[in-house]
């Protein structure tokens, strides 16, 4: 089994959730059956992703030929140091979200819909993983659609809690579809230029053509805009706050930690592997357009986050700002910058996933969505609030947390390039993050709990979240500390390896 998985694991990790989604959708509405099956599938997928990562580390590059057809005629999966860790990241976040879903979703989705709901969740996991592992440009689009269409449905399911989820899902659907269309137009132009859909093949042909003609330039533009919509690049982020604020709690945590990350991975892939920054038009777009939008997004989205009253919208705008950090790392166009960006991608997935899990637990117990309602949470939900605090520190970038490591890496890369203004922007936006996260913690720690939470003898009624919510939440909080303390050992290696694969020449 292990040796079979080391050969076929990459395909197995995609196919298993796809097929099991079809099964889960048909399961009878019996108590926790659909949840249990979906969670077991996610655990199996995560274990497979781990084996695949091991194999990739040993082998360097894994190529799996779907249907036995060698590329470029068939579709191949291609794993290297860039996408294998992201595959595991998505699978792991899928497991954590599904474990958390037992209490959370069961308060939000009625029994008869849970089968299809968990099926959609499995499709979303499989779609995101499929986007990441494939080595074929059109196959990216297919799995982008799998993850998007199930994602729109999952967001809309938040309507049981707040009807605004429906308009949020509709916005997400329209903008997401425009993004996917732009992407596929770009792939079409690339096909016209290169005559192949295999990404390695495209890279070789484009390098041969020295960047190619205007067709390749237009293809690059369309792909960047399409992926920009998917990864919520400022100002294409307008779908994101609504989608994150109103979808079911578990869905928000999963999408916030993986969906934009998978699209960002594709941006790495297209900017550095398929295209190359040594082509003049790629360098111009990345240095001026992407960097410019990244910095603008960091500042504006951080400020917008500060002025939100809804806790989840605050975190959603913060996500847009954090995407700005990752894009800035791309724009620096060096191994160090890209490594910082990659590290921040992983850290942010852990941190933002955890923060949304914590907010979900607060909603689950008290229906809290507004920052002003978070009063006294440190006394009523001490463990959740403690985990929230740790993760918030990490988001701000306090030393000894995950956020600190990656922000320092990004700042060093920017300084190395002489972009002192970028270092300043990173510091200023971190200070703004201190204010908007600090505001929540001030309320949670220093405001007294509302009268409803006081017992008759004057003591505070403790209402901690259920254990299945606490396990993933505390796990992610500890993870962010571990990265902060020991992360320079493992994760920095992983991100530097990834960056070296993306920029084999060592950068400009």
């Amino acid at each position: 089994m292990m040796s079979w998985l080391s050969t076929h694991g990459a395909a197995f990790a995609i196919v298993l959730p796809l097929l099991m989604a079809a099964v889960v959708a048909l399961l009878p509405s019996v108590r926790r059956l659909a949840w249990a099956v979906a969670t077991l599938v996610a655990i199996a997928v995560c274990a497979t992703a781990f084996i695949v990562l091991q194999t990739q580390i040993d082998a360097g590059v894994i190529v799996y030929e779907m249907g036995g057809w060698a590329p470029p005629h068939g579709i191949s999966l291609r794993l290297d140091a860039v996408n294998a860790p992201i595959l595991l990241l998505i699978a792991a976040m899928g497991v954590l979200s599904l474990v958390y879903a037992e209490p959370a979703t069961h308060a939000e989705v009625e029994l008869k819909k849970r089968g299809p709901f968990y099926a959609a969740m499995l499709l979303c996991i499989a779609g995101l993983m499929g986007m990441v592992v494939t080595g074929d440009a059109f196959n990216v689009f297919v799995f982008l659609e799998v993850s998007s269409i199930s994602g729109y449905t999952l967001v809309a399911m938040g309507a049981n809690r707040d009807r605004r989820a429906l308009t949020a899902a509709f916005n997400y659907l329209i903008l997401g579809s425009i993004g996917a269309t732009f992407f596929v137009i770009g792939v079409g132009f690339l096909y016209a230029e290169t005559g192949t859909l295999n990404m390695e093949d495209m890279r070789a042909i484009l390098a041969n053509l020295d960047g190619g003609s205007r067709v390749a330039q237009v293809a690059f533009g369309f792909i960047v805009v399409g992926l920009g919509l998917k990864l919520a690049m400022f100002p294409l982020h307008t779908w994101l706050p609504g989608a994150y604020a109103y979808s079911p709690t578990m869905v928000t945590a999963f999408l916030a930690s993986t969906a934009t990350k998978a699209a960002l991975y594709l941006l790495y892939r297209f900017c550095f592997t398929v295209f190359d920054p040594s082509f003049e038009y790629v360098a111009v777009v990345l240095t001026y357009v992407v960097t410019g939008l990244a910095v603008t997004g960091m500042i504006f989205a951080s400020l917008q986050a500060f002025f939100q009253t809804d806790a989840r919208r605050t975190l959603a705008f913060s996500s847009v700002a954090q995407v700005g950090y990752m894009l800035l790392g791309i724009g620096i166009l060096s191994v160090a910058g890209l490594a910082g960006s990659y590290l921040h991608l992983i850290n942010h997935a852990v941190v933002k996933g955890g923060l949304f899990l914590a907010l979900g637990a607060m909603w689950y117990q008290f229906g809290i969505t507004r920052i002003s309602d978070m009063a006294g949470l440190s006394k009523t939900m001490p463990i959740t609030t403690a985990a929230f605090t740790v993760l918030a520190f990490s988001l701000i970038g306090v030393p000894f947390t995950a956020g600190f490591v990656s922000k320092v890496a990004l700042a060093e890369a920017a300084a190395e390039k002489g972009w002192w203004w970028a270092v300043a922007v990173i510091m200023v936006t971190s200070i703004i993050a201190l204010f908007y996260m600090g505001r929540m913690m001030m309320v949670a720690y220093f405001s007294p709990p509302p009268a409803e939470c006081l017992r008759e003898d004057g003591k505070v009624l403790r209402r901690e979240a259920p254990i299945l919510m606490l396990i993933p939440l505390v796990g992610l909080a500890m993870m962010s500390i571990l990265i902060g303390l020991r992360g320079n050992v493992i994760l920095t290696d992983i991100s530097e390896n990834a960056a070296r694969v993306l920029i084999p020449g060592g950068g400009l």
């Binding site: 076929h8 196919v15 796809l18 097929l19 048909l26 799996y64 249907g67």
Partner: protein, 152 residues
């Protein structure tokens, strides 16, 4: 099946013609399905055409009649079954020692394996596409109690 007042039925010509056409449309769907190896066609197109034959039936004889012929529970199974048929072909290829969806290992020689594989996966596509098209029609159609004549 029969309308309440058959004599004053304003759509008698529509009903008669439709009864004649619907089997032909369904038959054409299967032609498209199985002729896809030789000419334009395949599971997607055939599935859509098969769904259209049922939708036409629903439009003329009413949604409830169509639901008796193709119950929503069956549609739900069909949606999943098609994906399982398609993916199952790949899984069988795995068990026979090939890559996922490598049809060549399915039979004694590669060409026959390819033919078998394509036949089954096209059937899977047909099942899913037909079911989902009907599911979408049922979902929207069920929300409107009855389509009144003025609306057409």
């Amino acid at each position: 099946m029969t309308p309440d007042t058959p004599i004053r039925d304003p759509h008698v010509i529509l009903r008669v013609i439709a009864k004649f056409l619907i089997p032909l449309i369904a038959l054409f769907a299967f032609y498209v399905q199985f002729h896809g190896d030789y000419g334009p066609g395949g599971g997607f197109q055939a599935g859509v055409i098969l769904a259209v034959s049922v939708i036409l039936y629903a439009l003329i004889f009413g949604l409830d009649e169509a639901k008796r012929a193709f119950p929503p529970a069956l549609i739900r199974v069909g949606m999943s079954l098609g994906v399982l048929l398609y993916g199952g072909t790949g899984v069988v290829a795995w068990m026979m020692g090939g890559e996922f969806l490598n049809y060549s290992v399915l039979a004694h020689d590669a060409i026959h394996g390819q033919h078998w594989g394509i036949l089954v996966i096209e059937l899977g596509v047909l099942t899913t596409v037909t079911s989902v098209m009907l599911a979408i029609f049922y979902a929207f159609g069920s929300r409107q109690p009855e389509i009144s004549d003025e609306d057409w």
